[in-house]
Amino acid sequence: MKKCTERPRILCSLNGAVDTIGNIYKGIPILHAGPGCSMQAAVGTNLYYLGGYHGMPSSNTYEKEVVFGGTDRLRETIRGSLEVMDGEIYAVLTGCSMGINGDDVEAVVREFENNPYPIVSVDVAGFRGDTYFGYQATLLAIVRKLAEKTETDPYMVNLYGQVPSMDMTLRGDLEELDRIFAELGLKLNTFFIKRDGVAQLKHSGNAALNINISPWMCRNLDSYYEQAFGIPTMHYPGMPIGPGAVADFIRQIAARLSLQRDYEKVITREQQYVYEYFDSLMGNFERHRFLLVGESNFALGIARFLVNDHGHIPLAVIVTDSVPEKQQADIEAQIKNLECDRKADVYFENDAYLIEQIALRYAGRATLLLGSTYEKNIARKLDAFFVTATAPCLDKEILNKSHIGTRGCISLVEDMYNHY
């Protein structure tokens, strides 16, 4: 990490790993880490199957393990986890203290290779990287462990590139993606939440196409699928939000899969659905000058929808995820390419204080701020409307609401109007 960060919105690589395994139904993270890591690394993640962080096995390493090594402790922890916890995939995740003291975690995990359940280990000691690093390393590790190929299913697609907990409307978004793919006669593997998540991972080697929705993440997974199973990857940076993006998304997929089905009919139907609602809202339509704060997947997706479809003026987009410099220019170019004469300023920042300083430059001009709960106070200072649209969302409980696709963009519009 290059510099200190005020009120970071992402956490360490252990968090990315816990988030990945914890969102797989019957995925059991086994922490080889200090007490407290289970709690801290799980904040904001969805450990619904485990019932929360207290449900997650952990070696809870104290001074003894820090000084003398923790492999014995790890061995008994893995043994107990396999006996007690009802899982279909187990992942030993290393925390800082055990990462520094040099425990040979892989060797211990190898001792359990003959148990009936798949088990992997991932070195995600907190200092190795951030949430994004942990997500990418862990997803690759379990795909390597589980994915197999029998024969290619021309109608099966894998989709990845979104850290689960960094999508505040995750469940609803996955449901919306499933719905759109089903309309096209396609089976979509998104791995997370679904009861058949482990089966999806196993069958993912049969997919005809990967869709990577991150402008910069999971290049390691793209190449693994390509090399191991010959699956090509389509890059679609940013969430598809709104009638324009959904149409574009469907056309790109159809082209890559040479779909025979009449997908233009599907597109028309989806667009018509949105415009029925927009039509009824016409009298209330208010054009905003907006600021948008969030990670690149949602910054791109929401900006495209608000500008290209819904007709607002983009003032500034502050991208908060750890985009490498090389890809920053691409993201900036995409935001500058939106269909509007006025071009947004683009920033890359994850420090809550500096984000506020940037946002306050637009005082008097901005009328709408879309961001995470962290930005709620900034909106008050700007006297702008506020919409919680990006993670972390701490001020409301979200269950099946979606902000993406066709139906999700309607919810997003609802959120823009229902406040005072």
Partner: protein, 489 residues
């Protein structure tokens, strides 16, 4: 800088255990004979650490910046947890415009772990001061900064020279320091004394009492405690949550000290007694009429206000007796299991006794000599056969036992038990008071409500299962506890 309070961990206190199990009678006898030893859990689930509690205690201090000297992850409970909780608290107080809590992570990466992170720490301190000009800068250690040997004391010393007007308070709260995470509160209170109050000795303020409390004490309960203390002529300085620099400096000015429960602040109150001669009492949490009586009487005794206390107790008790009797008709004879923090759990168990319920099992994070009398007191309601499972959560043991006991009611965090269809009630509440005599009613009504309508849990249980293997429920709940007498060494 010389520290008046040296770091001390709670693991070394007489009879300390965080892994034990046995009947109330068995544990009581052993701990009284000084032969209760800690057991070892060969399989554990997630617990919390010292650093989280140091953070929780200090994050709300106004006009301060908290620097978390660690990789990103260690700021989670502050960044994504405590600050938002504080925002809710401010909302309840109607203080939404008051200053925000400031935390900065030094964001240690591989490079700093290898080459040392003190330079990054100093850069962070400079950023904190340039941005916010705080009165106090807290510097919190972490597992990784401690293992690599970053000297946060020396760094604080250097910063003191650079910024002589700022108070720097380094806190050695690395996660692996203690098995008892309440140690984290001790370290935080110690830091306030060592670096903020230091040798200040303001004149005593008549009627002022410090009430040391955890961050989990809701605003409603704070108001209720203040009201009760006012009834015996005391003005409470509730510390350290949301305290200002001035509030902290007022700590030695108090005439008396108390804390919210047995496990909080006792070490610090002993120090204040020694240094400033401030009398204090370690008492229970005022949940339930009997516990509230005990709580109020022990404070009244401290300050010679017994008469006022008895008048208050008689009046308040009279206001709630009729409804308690009414609720008791429904609760009499029901069998109950409790999982809660030590202080809250003990108080909840007396409340269950008042409502005529029978305690089968209590899960408590810690058990030690100092709590023996409190657990013994439960025997007058529940006999001495109930099980004490000393466990910081460990839902796998909890669920195994609850499935076997099939209680009529479960008190505590419901995440796992609710999936079994058993009625569950939590005794924490952010909005309404759970303390004092009116709290008895509020909690009683919650119990009454779940007994009359448990449809949520009942129907949920048909569609969901806890994450444990079916075979686990047939095993001994303490299969993974190696008791000291079993260990041949």
């Amino acid at each position: 800088m010389e520290r008046a309070i040296k770091d001390k961990i709670r693991d070394t206190r007489a009879g300390f255990t965080d892994a034990q199990a046995g009947s109330a009678a068995a544990l009581r006898d052993k701990v009284k004979k000084n032969c209760l030893k800690n057991a070892h859990r060969t399989f554990e689930q997630g617990i919390q650490c010292v650093q989280v509690n140091s953070m929780n205690a200090l994050v709300s201090i106004q006009d301060s910046v908290m620097i978390i000297h660690a990789p990103y992850g260690c700021s989670a409970c502050a960044s994504l947890g405590a600050i938002e909780r504080l925002n809710i608290y401010k909302h309840h107080r109607g203080e939404e415009e008051s200053g925000e809590s400031r935390i900065i992570s030094t964001a240690l990466g591989e490079k700093e772990i290898i080459l040392g992170g003190e330079k990054r720490l100093e850069e962070t301190v400079r950023a904190a001061i340039d941005r916010h000009h705080p009165k106090i800068v807290f510097i919190l250690a972490s597992c990784s900064s401690a293992i690599i040997g970053d000297d946060i004391d020396a760094a604080a010393e250097r910063m003191r020279e650079e910024y002589p007007d700022t108070i720097f308070a380094p806190i050695h709260c690395e996660g692996f320091k203690s098995r008892n995470h309440a140690t984290g509160y001790d370290l935080a209170l110690g830091a306030l004394q060592n670096y903020v109050i230091r040798d200040a000795a303001p004149p005593k303020e008549k009627g002022l009492i410090n009430l040391f409390a955890t961050h989990s004490l809701s605003y409603a309960d704070q108001l209720e405690m203040k009201r009760m203390l006012r009834a015996i002529g005391l003005e409470a300085n509730i510390m350290p949550y949301h305290a200002t620099y001035e509030d902290i400096m007022r700590i030695p000015a108090a005439e008396y000290n108390i804390s919210v429960c047995q496990i909080f602040g006792d070490e610090y109150m002993a120090f204040l007694h020694e240094k400033y001669g401030t009398p204090y009492t370690v008492t229970c949490m005022p949940i339930g009429s009997d516990s509230t009586d005990r709580w109020l009487r022990s404070i009244a005794k401290l300050c010679g206000r017994e008469e006022e206390a008895e008048t208050f107790i008689a009046r308040e008790r009279a206001e709630v007796t009729a409804e308690i009797e009414e609720i008791r008709k429904k609760t009499e004879g029901l069998r109950v299991c409790i999982t809660a923090g030590t202080g809250r759990g003990l108080a909840a168990a007396t409340l269950m006794g008042e409502y005529g319920m029978q305690l089968l099992c209590i899960h408590t994070p810690y058990y030690e000599r100092a709590y023996a009398e409190d657990f013994e007191r439960l025997e007058q309601y529940h006999g001495d056969e109930f099980l004490i499972n000393v466990a910081d959560m460990q839902p796998y043991e909890q669920i195994n036992l609850v499935r076997k006991y099939k209680p009529d009611l479960f008190i505590g965090m419901a995440n796992w038990v609710s999936r079994l269809g058993i009625p569950t009630v939590h005794i924490l509440d952010a909005k309404r008071p759970t303390f004092g005599y009116h709290g008895v009613l509020y909690l009683g009504r919650k119990i009454e409500d779940v007994l009359d309508n448990n449809n949520f849990n009942k129907k949920l249980s048909r569609f969901t299962d806890p994450p444990f293997r079916e075979s686990w429920y047939r095993e001994d709940a303490f299969k993974y506890i190696e008791f000291p007498e079993d260990i041949v060494s």
